[in-house]
Symmetry: C2
Subunit: 498 residues, 2 copies
Amino acid sequence: MSNKPSIPKGTRDFSPTEMARRNYIFDTIKKVYKRYGFQQIETPAMENLDTLIGTGGDESDQLIFKILNSGNFLSNVRVQKSKFRYAAQDDCQLLDDALIGERYPLSLLVEPKEILNSISEKALRYDLTVPFARYVVQNQNDITFPFRRFQIQPVWRADRPQKGRYREFYQCDADIIGSDSLVNEVDLIKIIDDVFTELFQGKLDYTISINNRKILQGIIESVGEQDKFEEIVVAIDKLDKTGIDGVKKELIQNSISENSVEKLLELCNPTILRNSIPETMNLNDAEEALNDLGFITDNFEDNINTQKGIEELEFVFEKLKTLGRKTANIKFDPTLARGLGYYTGTIIEVKVDNFPSICGGGRYDDLTSEFGLKDVSGVGISFGADRIYDVLLDNDLYPEFKGDTTEVLFYNYGEGEEDICLNYLFQLRESGINAEFYPDTVKQKRQYNFAVKKGIRYVITVRSEEIKKGVLFLRDMESDTQYIDKTIEEVIEIIKTN
Amino acid sequence: MSNKPSIPKGTRDFSPTEMARRNYIFDTIKKVYKRYGFQQIETPAMENLDTLIGTGGDESDQLIFKILNSGNFLSNVRVQKSKFRYAAQDDCQLLDDALIGERYPLSLLVEPKEILNSISEKALRYDLTVPFARYVVQNQNDITFPFRRFQIQPVWRADRPQKGRYREFYQCDADIIGSDSLVNEVDLIKIIDDVFTELFQGKLDYTISINNRKILQGIIESVGEQDKFEEIVVAIDKLDKTGIDGVKKELIQNSISENSVEKLLELCNPTILRNSIPETMNLNDAEEALNDLGFITDNFEDNINTQKGIEELEFVFEKLKTLGRKTANIKFDPTLARGLGYYTGTIIEVKVDNFPSICGGGRYDDLTSEFGLKDVSGVGISFGADRIYDVLLDNDLYPEFKGDTTEVLFYNYGEGEEDICLNYLFQLRESGINAEFYPDTVKQKRQYNFAVKKGIRYVITVRSEEIKKGVLFLRDMESDTQYIDKTIEEVIEIIKTN
């Protein structure tokens, strides 16, 4: 074993301070989810490879961490005889070039893809949506639909690690499955508003952008590019990252006609957008905005998808208007696309300042059909706990976590005082106070430093003079107040009322 | 994709009901840990393979789930040229025998062990102790010692799945590292007492067995078999599973002399044990017990390890006597061995009825030296959440989990009533009540069934007659009470006070 232990790149340890902050985020989200009738489930870290492979497209498959079969994992791997013959020829130049010493690279013999199916049958989940779809189908007879489930668990992606992007990170998902009603969309947007109202305490602006995939579909149909729907959505989705020029380039690369590209780019032009899209919750404005942008053409007005998309948006915005909002800016954003393939209706994304999306979601009509359950509509959101963590930290928005660390430390003066200290200690604990006794008889300065570093507010001293009187000496390090000759009951009272 | 989705064997999904029970166990343990000054950390699911391999012995290595390197994982695997030649010969009988069609088994070419190092660099943790040791060494400059940490996370083992043994399960560990003081042992035993007092509510007997590895060491030295320390400990550890005959067989297999085997077996004889070991916390009894068993020989009395072990036990038992206990039976068990290699002092195990150990732990003097940090003593315990889950279930000890599911359902009567219902709904949520609106306009019977299946206590009806009067109709399904014509404020009051 090397002398410098380390962890895999892209993974993290969480210290007590970090855990307190993370739990605060998770607990807030959890509380709001429950308030809205969502119930928690958990699924295993590992899924069968065939559950995960192919559900998110080739790009996702690359990101999956595969687990080696246990035991003799090579026993089922077979190689074509001809390949052995080829590899064994002394005069084979290709192999001799690749030869290091007396060893051949195995990759010349076997394709990784060929071997993969034989040596790995399981993998770590890369999101919570696919396991949820699998769960719903597997347990459909036990589930009461519409099913409101939430799930807060880590996921793993073999992504290139970079600032703010990790190979292990938590997702906090809530989905309602088995109901077409747009009331569910309203609930999810209100959840977002509730969570960030609590986490940001009104001190930070954030925007919930809403669009509807059907409008995008109608727009794309109205410019006659319905065959390129996915390519166009993926290109538009990158507007934030690549800018208008990047989107243009990607559209042209995907052989979109010049005329269509121009029309589609108008939609993405930030100047036009800023001027045309009012940041309101009124759908009439949204319809006007689309009109101004030149997308309400003859084709467009007749387009069933656009009309349906607009109706759906209208419903959501009107309900939100009726119910009001707390601290969110809610706006219609016709360029919001959200890359993932499975959305079919409302799409939602939450942004703060310069951070990437801190929450997102949408409606999907067909998530479980892959696993054999057809025509089950669902809608969901996912909070990005790691990004929210950074946003709260950067903006100094964490509260003080009282009760998460030790509140009281008993100084250790040696054997003579030990028993009485331990008795007091357990009385404090019994009354619900987090307390500990410094376990070793070391210099008081070291014990004091321990209290300071651990963030312990109170220190209790019981020396022979206190023992004689049956009292304790309590010091509040926060206010630097000393309480002399107090009984244990008085001490408990002081700590509990402070 | 097959039509029957499934999960890997030995893994489990957790339904909302199961999650509520699991969270109850975790929350109870967490609360007690915090009460004793422990702070939470988390470590990544994956560790570098060289952190995990070799720390728990060969048997543990077999249990590790290894993760395939991402990308072209075969590129670094090389095979000896001579093996290719051998494999390619047409007249090679061995290969032809193994030949299926035109394909050779790759395992004839490459040893799994040989290939493993090239294709896998990471693995899933199989316990929380090794990652904790790695964490302590890696973060030693930021940690305030003595460090009281707790950690509640899943671990993965490629064990053969069987009843009550899973491939993914949670551990709930607490350790104090950087202090020799036996006060820490006392704290840990009191934690166990606190946790099970709360979880079992005094309705279930449980026993905390305590021993000290130094006594075992002294006994083994006194029969002259110190070279076989580990083998003997491992054999004695199986007493519960294999019985006295099994232990005897294993001792003989390990070439322990006949005389020593007889002496060691006396220690394990349950009849002698029952008669000699009083179930008390008084160490004099323990010393007597050892004496009765014939282990206090001349050798024994002089044995430094036994004397030290007895002194340590004495300290722990005396302190426990002073402080009292809540519901635990605490006893000295000289046959308690605990298989794992790294314990060096106090060892602890908790049992209920016929269940396997539900909690265990002990002191280790040298956990971090593997990672380059020497002379750091620690002591810890680990609750087995999955077994505790089963114990509570079998004994019907789960409380009712109010607030974990929806408390109130609003019936959906259609568009006309929707807006007013949503307004009331959000008033309930604002006041802290978990509530939802049935999102679809379906038959009332179906909505009623939904409420029953989800365990929702209250149902609210708002029809046109209620809207006219500005009131609600509330039904308490638990007591079958109806509250007619109540204002929203009255409804909130009723729900909150019930």
